[in-house]
Protein backbone atom coordinates (compact mmCIF):
# COMPACT_ATOMS: atom_id res chain seq x y z
CA UNK A 1 0.00 0.00 0.00
CA UNK A 2 1.26 3.40 -0.96
CA UNK A 3 -0.78 6.59 -1.21
CA UNK A 4 -0.31 10.14 -2.43
CA UNK A 5 -2.52 12.78 -0.82
CA UNK A 6 -4.48 14.79 -3.37
CA UNK A 7 -6.41 17.04 -1.01
CA UNK A 8 -7.00 17.55 2.71
CA UNK A 9 -8.71 20.47 4.41
CA UNK A 10 -9.22 18.88 7.84
CA UNK A 11 -6.94 17.48 10.52
CA UNK A 12 -5.54 14.09 9.46
CA UNK A 13 -2.54 12.90 11.46
CA UNK A 14 -0.50 9.73 11.94
CA UNK A 15 -1.20 8.24 15.40
CA UNK A 16 -0.37 5.08 17.32
CA UNK A 17 -0.64 4.34 21.06
CA UNK A 18 1.46 7.40 21.93
CA UNK A 19 4.50 8.13 24.08
CA UNK A 20 3.45 8.22 27.79
CA UNK A 21 7.07 7.46 28.73
CA UNK A 22 8.16 11.08 28.01
CA UNK A 23 5.83 12.86 30.43
CA UNK A 24 8.69 14.10 32.61
CA UNK A 25 9.95 16.09 29.60
CA UNK A 26 6.58 17.81 29.33
CA UNK A 27 5.82 15.89 26.13
CA UNK A 28 2.12 15.09 25.64
CA UNK A 29 1.30 11.39 25.33
CA UNK A 30 -0.46 11.91 21.96
CA UNK A 31 -1.74 8.76 20.23
CA UNK A 32 -5.21 8.00 18.90
CA UNK A 33 -8.02 9.95 20.59
CA UNK A 34 -10.32 6.91 20.31
CA UNK A 35 -7.80 4.19 21.09
CA UNK A 36 -10.41 1.40 20.70
CA UNK A 37 -11.33 2.28 17.12
CA UNK A 38 -7.65 2.72 16.27
CA UNK A 39 -6.99 -0.75 17.65
CA UNK A 40 -9.90 -2.32 15.75
CA UNK A 41 -8.76 -0.73 12.47
CA UNK A 42 -5.33 -2.21 13.12
CA UNK A 43 -6.74 -5.67 13.89
CA UNK A 44 -8.67 -5.62 10.62
CA UNK A 45 -5.43 -4.73 8.83
CA UNK A 46 -3.63 -7.59 10.60
CA UNK A 47 -1.62 -5.39 12.99
CA UNK A 48 -0.97 -5.06 16.69
CA UNK A 49 -2.41 -2.01 18.50
CA UNK A 50 0.76 0.06 18.32
CA UNK A 51 0.95 0.16 14.52
CA UNK A 52 0.39 3.67 13.14
CA UNK A 53 -2.97 4.57 11.60
CA UNK A 54 -4.28 7.78 10.07
CA UNK A 55 -6.65 9.66 12.34
CA UNK A 56 -9.31 11.55 10.43
CA UNK A 57 -11.28 14.24 12.25
CA UNK A 58 -13.41 15.99 9.68
CA UNK A 59 -13.02 17.76 6.37
CA UNK A 60 -12.51 16.37 2.90
CA UNK A 61 -9.60 14.01 2.47
CA UNK A 62 -8.62 12.37 -0.79
CA UNK A 63 -5.67 10.28 -1.94
CA UNK A 64 -4.72 8.04 -4.82
CA UNK A 65 -3.41 4.50 -4.27
CA UNK A 66 -0.04 4.30 -5.98
CA UNK A 67 0.17 0.70 -4.82
CA UNK A 68 -2.75 -1.54 -3.81
CA UNK A 69 -3.07 -3.49 -0.59
CA UNK A 70 -4.99 -4.07 2.59
CA UNK A 71 -6.92 -1.30 4.36
CA UNK A 72 -9.38 -0.96 7.20
CA UNK A 73 -11.48 1.98 8.33
CA UNK A 74 -13.01 2.06 11.83
CA UNK A 75 -14.49 4.60 14.22
CA UNK A 76 -17.06 7.33 13.65
CA UNK A 77 -17.28 10.73 12.04
CA UNK A 78 -15.96 9.67 8.64
CA UNK A 79 -17.25 7.85 5.54
CA UNK A 80 -14.72 6.00 3.42
CA UNK A 81 -15.22 5.99 -0.34
CA UNK A 82 -13.21 3.99 -2.85
CA UNK A 83 -13.64 5.03 -6.47
CA UNK A 84 -16.70 6.98 -5.36
CA UNK A 85 -18.41 4.00 -3.70
CA UNK A 86 -19.02 4.19 0.05
CA UNK A 87 -17.39 1.36 2.03
CA UNK A 88 -18.78 -0.08 5.24
CA UNK A 89 -16.90 0.65 8.45
CA UNK A 90 -15.18 -1.94 10.67
CA UNK A 91 -14.24 -4.28 7.77
CA UNK A 92 -11.12 -5.52 6.03
CA UNK A 93 -10.77 -4.04 2.55
CA UNK A 94 -8.47 -4.96 -0.31
CA UNK A 95 -8.01 -2.20 -2.86
CA UNK A 96 -6.13 -2.16 -6.18
CA UNK A 97 -3.53 0.35 -7.33
CA UNK A 98 -4.98 3.42 -8.98
CA UNK A 99 -8.06 3.54 -6.76
CA UNK A 100 -9.26 6.91 -5.48
CA UNK A 101 -9.65 6.99 -1.69
CA UNK A 102 -11.79 9.64 -0.03
CA UNK A 103 -12.95 10.28 3.52
CA UNK A 104 -15.86 12.64 4.05
CA UNK A 105 -17.51 13.83 7.25
CA UNK A 106 -20.39 12.01 8.91
CA UNK A 107 -22.34 13.38 11.87
CA UNK A 108 -22.10 10.31 14.12
CA UNK A 109 -18.79 11.09 15.82
CA UNK A 110 -15.40 12.79 15.64
CA UNK A 111 -12.61 10.36 14.81
CA UNK A 112 -12.12 7.57 12.30
CA UNK A 113 -9.00 5.52 11.64
CA UNK A 114 -7.46 4.26 8.41
CA UNK A 115 -5.06 1.37 8.95
CA UNK A 116 -2.92 -0.63 6.54
CA UNK A 117 -0.66 -3.72 6.66
CA UNK A 118 2.03 -3.18 9.27
CA UNK A 119 0.91 0.41 9.82
CA UNK A 120 1.90 3.63 8.01
CA UNK A 121 5.63 3.94 7.76
CA UNK A 122 6.92 7.14 9.35
CA UNK A 123 10.05 7.40 11.52
CA UNK A 124 9.71 6.59 15.19
CA UNK A 125 10.34 9.70 17.34
CA UNK A 126 10.78 9.39 21.12
CA UNK A 127 9.46 5.85 20.96
CA UNK A 128 6.31 6.49 18.93
CA UNK A 129 5.07 7.32 15.42
CA UNK A 130 2.37 9.64 16.77
CA UNK A 131 2.16 13.24 15.61
CA UNK A 132 2.91 15.80 18.33
CA UNK A 133 1.28 18.93 16.90
CA UNK A 134 2.30 21.32 19.68
CA UNK A 135 6.04 20.74 19.20
CA UNK A 136 5.81 19.78 15.52
CA UNK A 137 7.45 16.37 15.49
CA UNK A 138 6.44 12.75 14.99
CA UNK A 139 4.05 11.40 12.37
CA UNK A 140 4.70 13.10 9.05
CA UNK A 141 6.89 16.11 9.90
CA UNK A 142 4.82 16.77 13.03
CA UNK A 143 1.82 18.10 11.11
CA UNK A 144 -1.48 17.29 9.43
CA UNK A 145 -1.29 15.60 6.01
CA UNK A 146 -1.45 17.79 2.94
CA UNK A 147 -1.57 17.63 -0.84
CA UNK A 148 1.47 15.91 -2.33
CA UNK A 149 2.43 13.90 0.78
CA UNK A 150 3.25 10.23 0.21
CA UNK A 151 2.75 7.46 2.75
CA UNK A 152 3.68 3.82 2.54
CA UNK A 153 2.74 0.70 4.50
CA UNK A 154 5.37 -0.90 6.74
CA UNK A 155 4.53 -4.28 5.15
CA UNK A 156 3.65 -3.71 1.50
CA UNK A 157 1.57 -6.58 0.10
CA UNK A 158 0.06 -6.51 -3.38
CA UNK A 159 -3.04 -8.57 -4.11
CA UNK A 160 -4.20 -9.74 -7.50
CA UNK A 161 -7.37 -7.71 -7.68
CA UNK A 162 -9.67 -6.51 -10.40
CA UNK A 163 -11.63 -4.26 -8.04
CA UNK A 164 -12.27 -3.39 -4.41
CA UNK A 165 -12.96 -6.36 -2.11
CA UNK A 166 -14.74 -5.92 1.22
CA UNK A 167 -14.82 -8.61 3.90
CA UNK A 168 -18.14 -10.23 4.82
CA UNK A 169 -17.08 -10.01 8.47
CA UNK A 170 -17.31 -6.95 10.58
CA UNK A 171 -15.42 -6.07 13.79
CA UNK A 172 -18.07 -4.74 16.16
CA UNK A 173 -20.63 -2.01 15.67
CA UNK A 174 -18.30 0.92 16.11
CA UNK A 175 -18.45 3.52 18.91
CA UNK A 176 -21.77 3.46 20.80
CA UNK A 177 -22.31 7.23 20.83
CA UNK A 178 -25.81 8.42 21.51
CA UNK A 179 -25.63 12.09 20.72
CA UNK A 180 -28.78 12.91 22.62
CA UNK A 181 -27.29 11.53 25.84
CA UNK A 182 -24.18 9.47 26.51
CA UNK A 183 -23.29 8.28 30.02
CA UNK A 184 -19.60 8.47 30.86
CA UNK A 185 -18.27 6.92 34.06
CA UNK A 186 -15.69 8.82 36.11
CA UNK A 187 -13.54 8.41 39.21
CA UNK A 188 -13.34 11.23 41.76
CA UNK A 189 -10.39 13.54 41.07
CA UNK A 190 -7.77 14.51 43.69
CA UNK A 191 -9.45 17.92 44.28
CA UNK A 192 -13.07 16.70 44.13
CA UNK A 193 -13.52 17.55 47.84
CA UNK A 194 -13.10 21.24 47.02
CA UNK A 195 -16.77 21.29 46.05
CA UNK A 196 -19.36 20.78 48.76
CA UNK A 197 -21.48 17.63 48.61
CA UNK A 198 -24.51 19.35 47.04
CA UNK A 199 -22.51 21.00 44.29
CA UNK A 200 -20.67 17.78 43.58
CA UNK A 201 -24.01 16.01 43.24
CA UNK A 202 -25.01 18.56 40.62
CA UNK A 203 -21.99 17.55 38.55
CA UNK A 204 -23.60 14.13 38.18
CA UNK A 205 -27.23 15.14 37.95
CA UNK A 206 -27.14 17.74 35.21
CA UNK A 207 -26.08 16.96 31.67
CA UNK A 208 -23.21 18.84 30.02
CA UNK A 209 -23.04 19.74 26.35
CA UNK A 210 -19.86 19.08 24.38
CA UNK A 211 -18.76 22.49 23.18
CA UNK A 212 -17.62 23.62 19.76
CA UNK A 213 -14.22 24.50 21.20
CA UNK A 214 -12.63 21.09 21.05
CA UNK A 215 -9.41 19.72 19.65
CA UNK A 216 -6.96 16.90 20.33
CA UNK A 217 -5.85 18.66 23.55
CA UNK A 218 -9.19 19.02 25.24
CA UNK A 219 -12.94 19.45 25.10
CA UNK A 220 -14.81 22.33 26.75
CA UNK A 221 -18.11 21.42 28.34
CA UNK A 222 -21.04 23.78 28.52
CA UNK A 223 -23.49 23.55 31.38
CA UNK A 224 -24.33 25.08 34.71
CA UNK A 225 -21.46 24.41 37.01
CA UNK A 226 -19.25 26.42 39.34
CA UNK A 227 -15.54 26.63 40.11
CA UNK A 228 -14.16 25.05 43.29
CA UNK A 229 -14.48 27.00 46.54
CA UNK A 230 -10.70 27.17 46.59
CA UNK A 231 -9.16 27.35 43.12
CA UNK A 232 -5.54 27.94 44.16
CA UNK A 233 -3.41 24.84 43.70
CA UNK A 234 0.12 23.81 42.78
CA UNK A 235 0.46 22.61 39.20
CA UNK A 236 0.22 18.82 39.25
CA UNK A 237 -0.14 15.93 36.84
CA UNK A 238 -3.00 15.84 34.34
CA UNK A 239 -3.72 13.00 31.93
CA UNK A 240 -6.01 12.26 29.02
CA UNK A 241 -9.44 11.92 30.67
CA UNK A 242 -8.73 14.38 33.50
CA UNK A 243 -11.64 16.79 34.05
CA UNK A 244 -10.43 20.21 35.26
CA UNK A 245 -12.63 23.10 36.29
CA UNK A 246 -11.09 26.53 35.51
CA UNK A 247 -12.31 29.69 37.30
CA UNK A 248 -15.06 30.28 34.70
CA UNK A 249 -16.79 27.05 35.85
CA UNK A 250 -16.84 25.34 32.44
CA UNK A 251 -15.19 21.95 32.84
CA UNK A 252 -12.45 20.88 30.40
CA UNK A 253 -11.94 17.20 29.63
CA UNK A 254 -8.33 16.65 28.59
CA UNK A 255 -7.64 14.52 25.52
CA UNK A 256 -4.69 12.68 23.92
CA UNK A 257 -2.56 15.78 23.21
CA UNK A 258 -3.11 17.28 26.67
CA UNK A 259 -0.25 19.02 28.43
CA UNK A 260 1.33 16.97 31.23
CA UNK A 261 0.73 19.36 34.15
CA UNK A 262 -2.16 21.62 35.00
CA UNK A 263 -3.11 24.14 37.66
CA UNK A 264 -6.91 23.87 37.76
CA UNK A 265 -8.69 21.68 40.34
CA UNK A 266 -9.24 18.16 39.03
CA UNK A 267 -12.81 17.20 39.83
CA UNK A 268 -12.91 13.82 38.10
CA UNK A 269 -11.15 11.37 35.80
CA UNK A 270 -12.90 9.55 32.95
CA UNK A 271 -12.34 5.80 33.34
CA UNK A 272 -10.12 4.13 30.73
CA UNK A 273 -12.99 2.01 29.39
CA UNK A 274 -15.14 5.07 28.59
CA UNK A 275 -12.52 7.53 27.30
CA UNK A 276 -12.67 6.31 23.65
CA UNK A 277 -16.45 6.70 23.71
CA UNK A 278 -16.22 10.20 25.21
CA UNK A 279 -13.78 11.22 22.45
CA UNK A 280 -16.46 10.42 19.86
CA UNK A 281 -19.25 12.64 21.28
CA UNK A 282 -19.73 15.31 18.65
CA UNK A 283 -20.11 19.03 19.50
CA UNK A 284 -23.64 19.65 20.76
CA UNK A 285 -23.89 16.10 22.15
CA UNK A 286 -25.07 15.66 25.75
CA UNK A 287 -23.06 13.84 28.36
CA UNK A 288 -24.01 12.60 31.83
CA UNK A 289 -21.20 11.78 34.24
CA UNK A 290 -21.68 8.85 36.58
CA UNK A 291 -19.40 8.31 39.56
CA UNK A 292 -17.79 4.92 39.96
CA UNK A 293 -14.98 3.33 41.99
CA UNK A 294 -11.54 2.11 40.98
CA UNK A 295 -12.48 -1.59 41.39
CA UNK A 296 -15.36 -1.18 38.96
CA UNK A 297 -13.17 0.83 36.57
CA UNK A 298 -10.51 -1.89 36.60
CA UNK A 299 -13.16 -4.55 36.06
CA UNK A 300 -14.65 -2.69 33.08
CA UNK A 301 -11.24 -2.15 31.55
CA UNK A 302 -10.46 -5.87 31.85
CA UNK A 303 -13.81 -6.84 30.31
CA UNK A 304 -13.16 -4.50 27.40
CA UNK A 305 -9.71 -5.98 26.98
CA UNK A 306 -11.23 -9.51 26.84
CA UNK A 307 -13.68 -8.46 24.12
CA UNK A 308 -10.81 -6.97 22.11
CA UNK A 309 -8.72 -10.12 22.41
CA UNK A 310 -11.62 -12.32 21.36
CA UNK A 311 -12.19 -10.10 18.36
CA UNK A 312 -8.52 -10.26 17.43
CA UNK A 313 -8.56 -14.05 17.59
CA UNK A 314 -11.73 -14.34 15.52
CA UNK A 315 -10.28 -12.00 12.88
CA UNK A 316 -7.09 -14.00 12.71
CA UNK A 317 -9.08 -17.17 11.95
CA UNK A 318 -11.11 -15.37 9.29
CA UNK A 319 -8.03 -14.05 7.57
CA UNK A 320 -6.46 -17.51 7.57
CA UNK A 321 -9.66 -18.94 6.12
CA UNK A 322 -9.61 -16.36 3.33
CA UNK A 323 -5.82 -16.60 2.93
CA UNK A 324 -5.28 -12.88 3.54
CA UNK A 325 -1.76 -12.23 4.66
Amino acid sequence: MKIRIIHNNGLVTVQDTGRPQWRAAGVPASGAADISSHRIANMLAGNSANAASLEYSGGHFSAVLLQGGRLAHAGAGGRLLLNGVEQPCQRTILAPAGALLEIRPRQDGNFSYLATSGGWNVPEMLGSRSTCLVAGFGGLEGRSLRSGDMLEAVMPAEYDLSGVWTSPWRAGEGPAVKNDETTIRVLPGPESDRWDADTRLRFFETPFTVGRRRDRMGVRLEGHFVPAQNVAMLSAAVLPGTIQVPPDGHPIVLMADAQTTGGYPRIAQVIAADLPLFAQIAPGGKVFFQETGIEEAEHLRLEQEKVMRKMQLALRFKMQEYAIR
Binding site: A237, L239, T261
Partner: protein
Amino acid sequence: MCILLRRRLFFMSNPVRPMFQINIINEKAIEIVLGDSIDLTTHEKVMAWYRDLLSDPFPGFVSASPAYASVCVLFEPEKTGKPHPVDAVSEYLQEREKKIAVGISQAKITGGEVEVPVHYDGPDLEDVAARLGMTTAEVVALHSKTDYTVFMNGFLPGFPYLGPLPERLELPRRNTPRERVPAGSIAIAGRQTGIYPQTSPGGWHLIGRTDLRLFDPFRDPPVRLQPGMRVRFVPVF
Protein backbone atom coordinates in the same frame (compact mmCIF):
# COMPACT_ATOMS: atom_id res chain seq x y z
CA MET B 1 19.86 -3.42 69.88
CA CYS B 2 19.25 -3.69 66.19
CA ILE B 3 15.62 -2.67 66.57
CA LEU B 4 16.62 0.24 68.76
CA LEU B 5 19.08 1.49 66.16
CA ARG B 6 16.57 1.22 63.35
CA ARG B 7 13.93 3.06 65.33
CA ARG B 8 16.36 5.78 66.13
CA LEU B 9 17.37 6.20 62.49
CA PHE B 10 13.74 6.40 61.55
CA PHE B 11 13.17 9.01 64.21
CA MET B 12 16.19 11.07 63.19
CA SER B 13 15.22 11.21 59.54
CA ASN B 14 11.65 12.12 60.43
CA PRO B 15 11.79 15.07 62.82
CA VAL B 16 8.22 15.81 61.73
CA ARG B 17 6.03 13.25 60.05
CA PRO B 18 6.68 13.92 56.35
CA MET B 19 3.72 14.29 54.04
CA PHE B 20 3.05 11.18 52.01
CA GLN B 21 -0.26 10.61 50.32
CA ILE B 22 -1.26 8.34 47.48
CA ASN B 23 -3.89 9.55 45.00
CA ILE B 24 -5.29 6.94 42.64
CA ILE B 25 -5.85 8.86 39.41
CA ASN B 26 -7.11 6.02 37.24
CA GLU B 27 -6.43 2.38 36.26
CA LYS B 28 -2.92 3.23 35.08
CA ALA B 29 -1.78 6.23 37.12
CA ILE B 30 -1.02 6.96 40.77
CA GLU B 31 0.08 10.32 42.16
CA ILE B 32 2.39 10.50 45.18
CA VAL B 33 1.90 13.77 47.09
CA LEU B 34 4.93 14.85 49.12
CA GLY B 35 4.12 18.41 50.17
CA ASP B 36 1.90 21.42 49.62
CA SER B 37 4.22 24.27 48.69
CA ILE B 38 6.88 25.31 46.18
CA ASP B 39 10.11 24.91 48.14
CA LEU B 40 13.45 23.18 47.77
CA THR B 41 12.91 20.71 50.62
CA THR B 42 9.77 19.35 48.97
CA HIS B 43 11.56 19.39 45.61
CA GLU B 44 14.34 17.21 47.03
CA LYS B 45 11.77 14.66 48.16
CA VAL B 46 10.16 14.73 44.73
CA MET B 47 13.54 14.24 43.05
CA ALA B 48 14.47 11.40 45.43
CA TRP B 49 11.29 9.57 44.38
CA TYR B 50 11.75 10.40 40.72
CA ARG B 51 15.35 9.17 40.60
CA ASP B 52 14.61 6.10 42.66
CA LEU B 53 11.76 4.99 40.37
CA LEU B 54 13.86 5.56 37.25
CA SER B 55 16.88 3.68 38.57
CA ASP B 56 14.89 0.77 39.96
CA PRO B 57 11.54 0.47 38.13
CA PHE B 58 8.87 -2.07 39.14
CA PRO B 59 7.28 -4.51 36.66
CA GLY B 60 4.87 -2.61 34.40
CA PHE B 61 6.41 0.81 35.16
CA VAL B 62 5.92 3.26 32.26
CA SER B 63 7.00 6.67 33.55
CA ALA B 64 7.41 8.94 36.56
CA SER B 65 6.94 12.67 36.16
CA PRO B 66 7.79 15.22 38.86
CA ALA B 67 5.63 18.23 39.69
CA TYR B 68 6.18 20.87 42.42
CA ALA B 69 5.11 18.64 45.29
CA SER B 70 4.11 15.36 43.69
CA VAL B 71 5.25 12.60 41.37
CA CYS B 72 2.87 10.93 38.92
CA VAL B 73 3.60 7.26 38.27
CA LEU B 74 2.22 5.57 35.15
CA PHE B 75 2.13 1.81 34.68
CA GLU B 76 0.77 -0.78 32.29
CA PRO B 77 -1.73 -2.86 34.30
CA GLU B 78 -1.17 -6.00 32.18
CA LYS B 79 2.57 -5.95 32.77
CA THR B 80 2.45 -5.68 36.57
CA GLY B 81 1.62 -9.40 36.65
CA LYS B 82 -0.93 -8.75 39.42
CA PRO B 83 -4.68 -9.43 39.40
CA HIS B 84 -5.37 -6.01 41.02
CA PRO B 85 -2.72 -3.72 39.53
CA VAL B 86 -3.78 -0.47 41.26
CA ASP B 87 -3.75 -2.08 44.72
CA ALA B 88 -0.48 -3.83 43.96
CA VAL B 89 1.29 -0.65 42.82
CA SER B 90 -0.13 1.37 45.75
CA GLU B 91 1.16 -1.18 48.23
CA TYR B 92 4.49 -1.29 46.48
CA LEU B 93 4.85 2.51 46.67
CA GLN B 94 3.91 2.52 50.37
CA GLU B 95 6.54 -0.10 51.02
CA ARG B 96 9.11 1.88 49.03
CA GLU B 97 8.41 5.04 51.04
CA LYS B 98 10.15 3.57 54.07
CA LYS B 99 13.35 3.13 52.10
CA ILE B 100 13.19 6.51 50.37
CA ALA B 101 12.35 8.47 53.54
CA VAL B 102 15.65 7.33 55.00
CA GLY B 103 17.60 8.15 51.83
CA ILE B 104 16.27 11.67 51.25
CA SER B 105 18.77 13.50 53.43
CA GLN B 106 21.62 12.24 51.21
CA ALA B 107 19.77 12.91 47.97
CA LYS B 108 21.22 16.38 47.42
CA ILE B 109 20.42 17.87 44.05
CA THR B 110 23.06 16.76 41.57
CA GLY B 111 21.36 17.51 38.29
CA GLY B 112 24.12 19.69 36.78
CA GLU B 113 24.29 23.41 36.10
CA VAL B 114 23.38 25.31 32.95
CA GLU B 115 23.94 28.93 31.96
CA VAL B 116 21.22 30.44 29.78
CA PRO B 117 22.24 33.50 27.72
CA VAL B 118 19.46 36.12 27.75
CA HIS B 119 18.70 39.25 25.77
CA TYR B 120 16.75 41.25 28.36
CA ASP B 121 14.52 43.09 25.90
CA GLY B 122 11.13 41.48 26.49
CA PRO B 123 7.97 43.44 25.63
CA ASP B 124 6.85 43.46 29.30
CA LEU B 125 10.19 44.45 30.88
CA GLU B 126 9.35 48.14 31.33
CA ASP B 127 5.85 47.41 32.57
CA VAL B 128 7.21 44.85 35.04
CA ALA B 129 9.78 47.35 36.34
CA ALA B 130 7.14 50.06 36.73
CA ARG B 131 4.75 47.76 38.60
CA LEU B 132 7.53 46.61 40.93
CA GLY B 133 8.78 50.17 41.49
CA MET B 134 12.22 49.33 40.12
CA THR B 135 14.33 50.31 37.13
CA THR B 136 14.64 47.81 34.26
CA ALA B 137 18.35 47.44 35.15
CA GLU B 138 17.38 46.43 38.69
CA VAL B 139 14.92 43.84 37.40
CA VAL B 140 17.59 42.40 35.08
CA ALA B 141 20.18 42.37 37.85
CA LEU B 142 17.89 40.62 40.30
CA HIS B 143 16.61 38.08 37.76
CA SER B 144 20.10 37.20 36.53
CA LYS B 145 21.86 37.11 39.91
CA THR B 146 19.62 34.40 41.29
CA ASP B 147 20.28 30.67 41.10
CA TYR B 148 17.20 28.73 40.02
CA THR B 149 16.24 25.10 40.23
CA VAL B 150 14.28 23.27 37.53
CA PHE B 151 11.27 22.02 39.50
CA MET B 152 9.66 20.25 36.55
CA ASN B 153 8.90 20.26 32.85
CA GLY B 154 5.30 20.78 31.84
CA PHE B 155 2.84 22.96 29.92
CA LEU B 156 4.85 22.47 26.69
CA PRO B 157 7.52 19.92 25.67
CA GLY B 158 10.71 21.13 27.36
CA PHE B 159 9.11 24.07 29.25
CA PRO B 160 11.09 24.37 32.53
CA TYR B 161 9.35 25.61 35.67
CA LEU B 162 12.19 27.46 37.42
CA GLY B 163 12.24 28.87 40.90
CA PRO B 164 12.09 30.20 43.40
CA LEU B 165 11.94 33.68 41.86
CA PRO B 166 13.01 36.44 44.32
CA GLU B 167 10.04 37.77 46.25
CA ARG B 168 10.74 41.29 44.98
CA LEU B 169 10.00 40.12 41.41
CA GLU B 170 6.68 38.50 42.28
CA LEU B 171 3.73 39.55 40.11
CA PRO B 172 0.43 37.80 39.31
CA ARG B 173 -0.09 36.54 35.76
CA ARG B 174 -1.23 38.94 33.05
CA ASN B 175 -4.98 39.60 33.13
CA THR B 176 -5.27 38.70 29.46
CA PRO B 177 -2.97 35.95 28.21
CA ARG B 178 -1.18 36.55 24.91
CA GLU B 179 -2.32 34.42 22.00
CA ARG B 180 1.21 34.14 20.69
CA VAL B 181 4.36 34.09 22.78
CA PRO B 182 7.48 33.58 20.61
CA ALA B 183 9.71 30.55 21.21
CA GLY B 184 12.69 31.39 23.43
CA SER B 185 10.81 33.98 25.53
CA ILE B 186 11.93 34.27 29.17
CA ALA B 187 8.97 34.94 31.42
CA ILE B 188 8.02 35.44 35.07
CA ALA B 189 4.82 34.87 37.09
CA GLY B 190 4.30 34.40 40.82
CA ARG B 191 7.48 32.96 42.35
CA GLN B 192 8.35 31.24 39.08
CA THR B 193 10.31 31.94 35.94
CA GLY B 194 10.26 29.91 32.75
CA ILE B 195 11.26 29.73 29.09
CA TYR B 196 8.83 29.03 26.22
CA PRO B 197 10.41 26.29 24.06
CA GLN B 198 7.79 26.62 21.31
CA THR B 199 5.64 29.49 20.13
CA SER B 200 2.37 29.20 22.03
CA PRO B 201 -0.28 31.14 23.92
CA GLY B 202 0.89 32.27 27.36
CA GLY B 203 -0.04 34.42 30.35
CA TRP B 204 3.34 35.16 31.96
CA HIS B 205 5.26 38.48 31.75
CA LEU B 206 7.91 38.44 29.00
CA ILE B 207 11.17 40.04 30.14
CA GLY B 208 13.71 38.57 27.70
CA ARG B 209 14.60 35.92 25.15
CA THR B 210 17.24 33.26 24.58
CA ASP B 211 18.62 31.51 21.51
CA LEU B 212 19.23 28.34 23.53
CA ARG B 213 17.22 25.47 22.09
CA LEU B 214 15.28 23.86 24.92
CA PHE B 215 13.60 21.00 23.12
CA ASP B 216 14.92 18.84 20.29
CA PRO B 217 13.11 15.55 19.64
CA PHE B 218 16.12 14.26 17.67
CA ARG B 219 18.35 14.44 20.75
CA ASP B 220 18.51 12.07 23.70
CA PRO B 221 17.44 13.43 26.11
CA PRO B 222 15.25 15.82 24.10
CA VAL B 223 15.05 18.36 26.92
CA ARG B 224 17.87 20.79 27.76
CA LEU B 225 16.75 21.83 31.26
CA GLN B 226 15.69 18.79 33.24
CA PRO B 227 14.15 18.50 36.69
CA GLY B 228 16.77 18.95 39.41
CA MET B 229 19.18 21.03 37.28
CA ARG B 230 20.44 24.42 38.46
CA VAL B 231 20.06 27.38 36.09
CA ARG B 232 21.64 30.83 35.94
CA PHE B 233 20.59 33.50 33.42
CA VAL B 234 23.49 35.43 31.87
CA PRO B 235 22.68 38.82 30.25
CA VAL B 236 24.00 39.28 26.71
CA PHE B 237 23.91 42.54 24.83
